[in-house]
């Protein structure tokens, strides 16, 4: 009798442990398998360039791009261009985030704020972002201002919409708890409303960072005398496809980097969520 009691539990445990190790190995194999196709593409690309199937005017070889990258890092061209573009993105993002979050809090916390802010934001949201470029050039000229303004505008809307809906989505029962605990208006905002809106606001942050890079790329294509966009446009004049591709790769890497930063932030800020992978 005692064996029949103990055996099911040992049986139940054994397969679990037996499955754990192959599961891990399978995930690693899967991760490696995902690398195969991109690497194969690189190899084919390199071979095609070497065999003369791809001319340098159409697309430079991966090795040529890599050596150009080293050259441009060495003479400072690439690092300077990145610094200029990152500064534009950061300035635009900071402005747009402050506006988007500030307006969302104003609209989220009171009916009056909602009536004052939300209709305007919903109207402006319908305007095509890049369609505003001609106006921005007329208003701000062709210096840094229109580029930063375009990024800021692109960033403000996703952050506004998500933070606003995050604030409105906070559980009313928790607001009652705040009332019973006599937290006061500011305590309610600080302890309940803002932390409660954070998960949704972080979704908005990821969206807005995507828009920020896109807006920057477009703005830098149109008129720039420095930055990554300038580097790419300049390279086009001289048919330097290696520099063009390098610029695109750097844009992509910057986008992935900021996305990874937000995911790290989510991990840190949302550990309270049950089952959130820490």
């Amino acid at each position: 009798m005692s064996t029949s009691v103990s055996s099911p539990s040992s049986l139940a445990r054994a397969p679990g442990r037996a499955r754990a190790v192959p599961g891990f190995a399978r995930r690693r194999r899967a991760a490696l398998a995902r690398l195969v196709a991109p690497l194969a593409l690189l190899v084919v690309w390199q071979l095609a360039s070497g065999a003369g199937l791809l001319s340098e005017r159409q697309l430079a070889a991966p090795t040529a791009i890599a050596s150009t990258a080293l050259d441009l890092i060495r003479d400072g061209t690439l690092t300077d261009a990145i610094a200029v573009s990152v500064r534009r993105a950061a300035a635009g993002f900071a402005l747009g985030a402050a506006a988007g979050i500030g307006l969302a809090v104003a609209a989220g916390l009171s009916r009056l704020g909602e009536h004052a802010v939300d209709p305007l934001m919903q109207m402006l949201r319908a305007l095509p972002l890049f369609g505003l470029i001609p106006l921005f050039i007329l208003w701000f000229g062709i210096g840094e201002t229109p580029k930063v303004a375009l990024v800021a505008l692109g960033v403000a809307f996703p952050l506004y919409l998500n933070t606003f809906s995050g604030i409105r989505g906070v559980d009313g029962k928790l607001a009652e708890v705040a009332e019973v605990l006599r937290l006061g208006r500011w305590g309610l905002v600080r302890h309940i409303v803002l932390p409660g809106a954070l998960p949704q606001a972080l979704v908005g942050l990821r969206q807005s960072l995507g828009v920020a890079w896109l807006a920057l790329i477009v703005a830098e294509q149109i008129n720039a005398s420095s930055g990554l966009g300038f580097m790419i446009n300049n390279a086009r004049e001289f048919l330097r496809t290696d520099v063009v591709v390098l610029g695109l790769v750097v844009y992509a890497a910057l986008g992935l980097l900021t996305d990874a930063l937000v995911r790290l932030l989510e991990r840190r800020a949302l550990t309270w969520r049950k089952g959130f992978p820490v």
Partner: protein, 254 residues
């Protein structure tokens, strides 16, 4: 505070003459549109008295509790609470992004809120879980944390809104003991809203039945605690209360 008004039940007078009151409600009405939920409720709770409020669902039990908690305004009548109020809700309503200790200490205005929270957590047997996230707690643990959050404020009136109804039967028994233990140590006045007749009989000094928007029935339970549900006095009371609630006495006497 005015002395006994006409129409006050004899039992309420008795509560008057004993200890000072923490709650005094006269002719309380509450309407939601056309629907009258409370229709002239009179209620007194003495300091340190344990009162249970029974009623069918939709009878207005929670409405009365919410009015006492200051969450809803009454439509008419008088309501006064003399002292501080704390509430434990049916769902524990812990703030999910604050650790258990921070939940207990939330809004606490004492010199060392953290130490006070730890002491309260120790009293409900949750010393180990102070650093845990609320969503990782079991139902019973979460409800104990909710009790700690209410008690740490040392309330004169503790409002319990069906706090055990979502717990399993075994956890509920443990929680009954815990509540009695905490009540005996801190002596707040308690209003326990419940639909469980046995729970009311095991815990309370006085059991009220809310029906038709008013207190329709009142029983005193003068037995020592801990009580056994098979005590002959309780069996009789149970049958009477179940009859009040519209349940045939067959179930009560079985």
């Amino acid at each position: 505070m005015a002395q006994g008004l006409p129409g006050v039940t004899a039992e309420a007078e008795r509560a008057d003459t004993g200890r000072p009151r923490v709650v005094r409600v006269r002719g309380l009405t509450k309407r939601f549109g056309e629907r009258t939920v409370l229709d002239g409720v009179d209620l007194d709770i003495a300091r340190g008295e344990f009162v249970a409020l029974l009623g069918r669902s939709g009878s207005g039990k929670s409405t009365l509790l919410r009015a006492l908690a200051g969450l809803d305004d009454a439509t008419g009548g008088e309501l006064s609470v003399d002292g501080t109020v704390a509430v434990a809700f049916q769902e524990p309503r812990l703030v999910p992004w604050k650790r258990v200790r921070a939940n207990v200490a939330l809004g606490l205005r004492v010199p060392d809120p953290r130490a006070a929270a730890d002491k309260a957590l120790a009293e409900v047997g949750l010393t180990e879980r102070g650093g845990a996230w609320p969503l990782t707690l079991s139902g019973g643990e979460a409800q104990r944390a909710s009790l700690a959050r209410a008690l740490v404020r040392e309330p004169d009136l503790l409002l319990l809104d069906e706090p055990f109804s979502a717990l399993d039967a075994l956890t509920r028994i443990t929680m009954h003991r815990l509540v009695l233990d905490l009540w005996e140590r801190h002596r707040p006045g308690i209003l326990l809203v419940t639909h469980d007749v046995d729970e009311a009989l095991l815990l309370a000094d006085r059991v009220l039945v809310l029906d038709g928007g008013r207190i329709a029935h009142e029983s005193r339970v003068d037995l020592d605690r801990p009580r056994h549900r098979d005590h002959p006095d309780l069996t009789a009371l149970r049958a009477a209360l179940l009859a009040q609630l519209g349940v045939t006495t067959d179930e009560g006497t079985a």
